[in-house]
Symmetry: C2
Subunit: 166 residues, 2 copies
DNA sequence: GCAGATGTTCTGCTGTGCAGACGTTCTGTC
DNA sequence: GACAGAACGTCTGCACAGCAGAACATCTGC
């Protein structure tokens, strides 16, 4: 795996390592959730609907990083499977609340177990301590990045580079 | 951001945090590489062609987690931009070596700077020490997961769960 | 020499993000 | 109360990417 003889090998690239881990997790998760509508996204929707009680579909989209047009048929499928229901919000008839059914809650409990195994599988190269440290750091990065619109700053960085190299 | 009142909030979910960070990085990277053919994937191909001298297109695909049909037109675009060339391998005329041109190497040097800024942007919530620790752990996870076909094991995990819950 | 395997490309199929349009509903202003 | 503008959800069309399968050229083993 390790490529010798170069100062910066591909295995040292942050983007590459992040992509490898992300793809492995998605693959493991999709296998773990089985025939759940929407695959690993379906799980996240179900999980969020139980744990965060999203106040609208679009809030859910923002949280999960899913496009709103995708969320429409994702919820269609989950609703057809009786795992969640769309309820009109009492305060605003434009918005729909996404609420898990009892079936959905039961299913989520079972899925949580499977997902924990998938996660453990992906992280099986680390000790218990290192896993906790890694997850903690990841959580901090996610929390920070989530409060930040990445694009403008990235563009700024590009401009800085352009200025410094021209 | 933090959701209070639940034992396991969305922000504690490994898959969610991983997805947030990955999407933020891809977005920042795509912005950083500008008009490079293939966006952040184009960078990885260019980087790998310089640093790892891949012995074939399919080896490159496996390394980068890119489908071989995608690699075809990705290389078409990079070749059209004179950043890489496909050379027939001397040992096997079926395979093509992917070699960066001088233009490609120059471009890579510039892109490396931009990418370092994008990476720093995504990790800006961590101290210098924590960044190093995070990247080290990530590298270890990627290295381990990469030697492992995730799907069979995940399926095994699913069967274990099914056996334990039935 | 020949059957089977491998590398690359091409063609569909599917899933996903994105932009835009539309109908419904809410909000603020007159 | 009426109206313009904004927000929410849905639908359509486009683009990109993964995946499966086929086709073609080439290599390997018998």
């Amino acid at each position: 795996m390790a490529i010798i003889g170069r100062v910066t090998a591909l295995s040292d690239d942050f983007g590459w390592t992040l992509g490898v881990v992300f793809r492995a997790f998605v693959k493991a998760t999709n296998a773990a959730v089985g025939d759940l509508p929407g695959g690993h996204r379906g799980y996240q929707v179900l999980s969020a609907s139980v744990r965060d009680r999203p106040e609208s579909q679009s809030a859910l989209c923002r949280q999960l990083g899913v496009d709103r047009t995708v969320m429409t048929y994702l919820l269609d499928d989950l609703e057809a499977a009786s795992l969640v229901v769309r309820k009109p919000a009492p305060t605003d008839r434009r918005t729909r609340l996404v609420v898990a059914t009892d079936t959905g809650r039961d299913r989520l409990r079972e899925l949580d177990l499977r997902l924990a195994h998938a996660e453990a599988h992906v992280l099986s190269g680390l000790s218990e301590e290192d896993r906790a440290a890694f997850k903690g750091l990841l959580r901090r990065v996610a929390g920070h990045v989530n409060e930040l619109d990445p694009v403008p700053s990235a563009c700024q960085a590009v401009q800085d580079i352009a200025a410094s190299t021209s």
